[in-house]
């Protein structure tokens, strides 16, 4: 508690110092994110405290992240950039970075070091930082099931069980895209998590994945929007559903849905910030970023949503859920108990093979 107070004190002093030179004219920042519980967690962990420290700043939320790349391109082409900061996926961030429409980040200069002095580039989880991308959270796509759908002594426990309709009958709600589904098909077919993308890069590997998917095809309901998966589970429409772990946490712990998460084979990905080039308030945004991605702030977000902080140093300071009062550590994808067989999403792979595999997947859905 005392460490935390000290940290807030330190950082607030830092930001007050940083901003004292600037004229205190009212400024409004437009921050683009995913909406819903996720934006709410950012509001409470980052935006509200930042506005308290900097009374002249107001932050407006824009729920445009689902089409962030299209939006960034459109604004850059029109020469009228209105977004200050955008929350997006690293794969799209890399494309935007290649196109030069978002700023490159000098990690150690622009981001706060860990409290013990470890530079940012070493504190953020390995491979998470991008040329233009600053991760906030680790989220994962997990398999969830309804315990009531199976006998008490034969509950599913692994991804392999998703593909076992004989012992685990019932419908499965999967996302209508190849990502995650193909990885799991190979994993369930016995491929080691570390080798999955190597196998999937070969035509034989792709055939193998689709063949595995074929075995459950008649039992699948595809979902499109993130909110559909927990809904289908709650309504008893399906026995299994894939979904983002944050939403599933919300549905289970907050809404009281009767479901359990299988952490086996969780597909792990980052999500984080990018700064549009030629944005209206780049300097202020950089102040915000330095503060909002420090160790304590990232740990704070976990109080409001069950996504893991992207800094190693944050793991130790993750506390309890702000409203529920439960320990958040066991619900983090990065918790060692959960992180036993993760599949780390390979964005380069999807950038290269996504077009082709999406076509193949669409074709498979049509058959």
């Amino acid at each position: 508690m005392s460490t935390k107070l000290k940290l807030i004190g330190l950082s607030s002093v830092a930001s007050v110092l940083a901003l004292s030179a600037a004229a205190q004219n009212p400024v409004s920042l437009t921050i683009v994110s995913w909406g819903g519980a996720y934006t709410a967690s950012q509001q409470r962990a980052y935006h509200a405290p930042f506005m308290e420290l900097n009374p002249h700043v107001t932050i407006a939320n824009d729920d445009g992240s689902a089409n962030a790349l299209a939006g960034l391109r459109a604004q850059a082409q029109a020469g009228n950039v209105t977004w200050d900061l955008v929350d997006m996926l690293p794969s799209d961030a890399q494309l935007a970075c290649d196109e030069g429409i978002i700023l490159q980040i000098d990690h150690d200069a622009m981001l706060a070091p860990a409290p013990d002095g470890t530079p940012a580039s070493e504190d953020f989880l390995p491979g998470s930082l991008g040329e233009c991308f600053i991760p906030q959270i680790v989220y994962s796509t997990v398999l969830t099931f309804r315990p009531g759908a199976f006998p008490a002594d034969a509950q599913p426990a692994s991804i392999a069980d998703l593909f076992d309709v004989e012992n685990f009958p019932g419908r499965r709600a999967l996302q209508d895209r190849p990502g995650t589904n193909l990885e799991w098909a190979l994993y369930a077919d016995g491929v080691d998590p570390d080798d999955i993308y190597e196998v999937l890069a070969t035509p034989e590997g792709v055939d193998r994945a689709f063949a595995k998917l074929d075995t459950i095809k008649d039992h699948i309901i595809f979902w499109t929007e993130g909110a559909q998966a927990p809904q289908l589970l709650a309504d008893g429409e399906v026995a299994f559903a894939t979904g983002y772990n944050g939403r599933m946490f919300d549905a289970i712990e907050v809404e009281g849905m009767d479901a359990e998460i299988i952490w086996d084979g969780q597909v792990v990905e980052w999500d984080g910030w990018v700064v549009p080039a030629d944005g209206p308030n780049v300097d202020l945004v950089m102040e915000y970023l330095y503060w909002a991605t420090d160790t304590q702030r990232l740990a704070d977000q976990a109080k409001f949503i069950s996504f893991g902080p992207a800094r190693a140093s944050s793991a130790g300071v993750v506390g309890q859920h702000a409203d529920l009062g439960i320990d958040m550590a066991p619900h983090m994808p990065t918790n060692p108990d959960n992180y036993f067989a993760p599949i780390v999403l390979d964005n380069d792979f999807w950038a290269d093979y996504g077009d082709e595999l999406r076509e193949r997947f669409a074709n498979w859905m049509l058959q």
Partner: protein, 432 residues
């Protein structure tokens, strides 16, 4: 008599060339033109704001979309020298060293440019549409290019395997021109083979043609459903006094005023396997628990939802046409000895055809644009071509392909409209 003579004289006044003149001597034709020009100018002035609006916000974006479906600047802009050197390449073996020298020079040039203007990023994205992994071949190589030393051929092929494969070079050579048909070829489930012929894609990558077919079939079913449900309602409404009809019309229009999410949630609650309809049927003993109907997350869901939303577009033109059919026609038919059914079939129904045509065309065309509803309630089998277009616009960001699909859809609709016009006559459309 005097009056009549005077009139005859003025009326027949002509000039030397025999043209009719007005009373002040100007040729009649010119006077008429002058009078008409003024009227035309006024008419144009009245129409021009809307015309400008339509041009700017409707015609221009459509043309822009069609342009995007053939626009192909990425390779030409990024690799001018390479394309020069590739001109005589036969497309068989890996190109010679001079091509790699040109490639090296093109990339070095590009790295000199400010980041926003670099052409390597879009190039990688563009090539990846044609050949998987081409994007990383470009982006990974580009970082190391400044350290490359001759011979460049080895340097490039070491950096990424694709540089050593003629396939990538064939794509660069083929698509190295400012306009392309490749998006249309992809949209027709076709591709180029190694000899440059257009062939069908692998069976497991064909999507669009069958999706177009399914979209057409689904829309016909939806149009048919709105007709079957809408006709009796419109008939009943048209027979009611105006104030009751207006009241009931509100009920028909209700779907317009309900937000998509509310509507979708309602359908889910009603239609899902544990939903109201299935529970009721199980409760009544009509079906047993294992035999619950799948009414949502499949084509049935799409048909039910779309029929519901689009029903007003069928009811409104039908209603307005039926309102104008006086009851005396059916009475006349009956007085002539026709049974009520014959009177309806041979006298009333044919007169509603303009309304049916208008409603059908409206529902059919509007249904093309719907993609959110099918995505939410249609599962895998209830998806339509519009879902693919939306996906390419929003997620895969392959706007060229989206534009090609959109243009094909647009042309398809125009062809159908033309057919309708030929068969029924567009002038018989009555929209109310």
């Amino acid at each position: 008599m005097a009056m009549a003579d005077a009139t005859a004289q003025t009326g027949s006044a002509t000039d030397s060339r025999g043209r009719l003149l007005t009373s002040d001597g100007t040729p009649l034709r010119r006077a008429l033109e002058r009078a008409n020009r003024r009227r035309k100018l006024t008419a144009f002035a009245l129409v021009s704001p809307l015309l400008a609006f339509i041009l700017i916000f409707f015609a221009f974006p459509i043309l822009q979309m069609m342009w995007r479906s053939v626009d192909n600047p990425q390779i030409v802009n990024a690799l001018p020298r390479t394309l020069d050197e590739l001109r005589d390449w036969d497309g068989r073996a890996v190109p010679p060293e001079r091509v790699f020298v040109a490639l090296h020079a093109d990339i070095m040039d590009d790295l000199e440019r400010p980041r926003r203007e670099q052409r390597i990023g879009p190039l990688g994205v563009r090539l990846n549409y044609e050949l998987s992994a081409a994007r990383s071949a470009i982006s990974r190589t580009a970082r190391d290019v400044p350290n490359f030393e001759a011979p460049f051929r080895e340097a490039f092929t070491d950096a990424h395997r694709l540089w050593g494969q003629p396939e990538l070079w064939r794509v660069i050579q083929r698509e190295g021109r400012p306009l392309t048909l490749s998006y249309y070829i992809a949209a027709l489930d076709r591709e180029y083979d190694e000899f440059g012929n257009i062939v069908k894609r692998d069976e497991n990558r064909r999507i669009y043609v069958s999706l177009f077919g399914r979209t057409l079939a689904l829309r016909l079913v939806i149009t048919g459903m709105t007709f079957l449900l809408g006709f009796p309602i419109a008939y009943y409404l048209s027979s009611l006094p105006m104030r009751y009809a207006n009241l009931l019309m509100i009920a028909v229009l209700l779907p317009f005023w309900t937000s998509l999410l509310v509507r979708t949630s309602a359908w889910i609650v009603l239609l899902q396997q544990q939903g109201v309809i299935n529970n009721t049927l199980v409760g009544l003993g009509v079906i047993d628990d294992a035999g619950r109907f799948s009414l949502i997350y499949n084509q049935t869901g799409t048909i039910i939802a779309m029929t519901h939303i689009l029903l007003p577009f069928m009811v409104l033109p039908l209603y307005s046409v039926m309102r104008t059919i006086p009851p005396s026609y059916v009475r006349a038919a009956k007085s002539l000895g026709a049974t009520p059914w014959t009177a309806f079939r041979r006298v009333y129904f044919p007169q509603t055809l303009p309304g049916i045509g208008a409603g059908g065309v409206l529902v059919f065309i509007i249904s093309i644009g719907y993609y959110i509803t099918p995505a939410l309630v249609g599962g895998q089998s209830g998806r339509m071509i519009s879902n693919e277009i939306a996906r390419h616009i929003q997620q895969s960001l392959n706007w060229g392909l989206a534009a090609a699909l959109g243009s094909m859809l647009l042309v398809g609709v125009l062809v159908l409209y033309w057919l309708y016009n030929r068969l029924v006559g567009a002038d018989s459309l009555k929209l109310g």
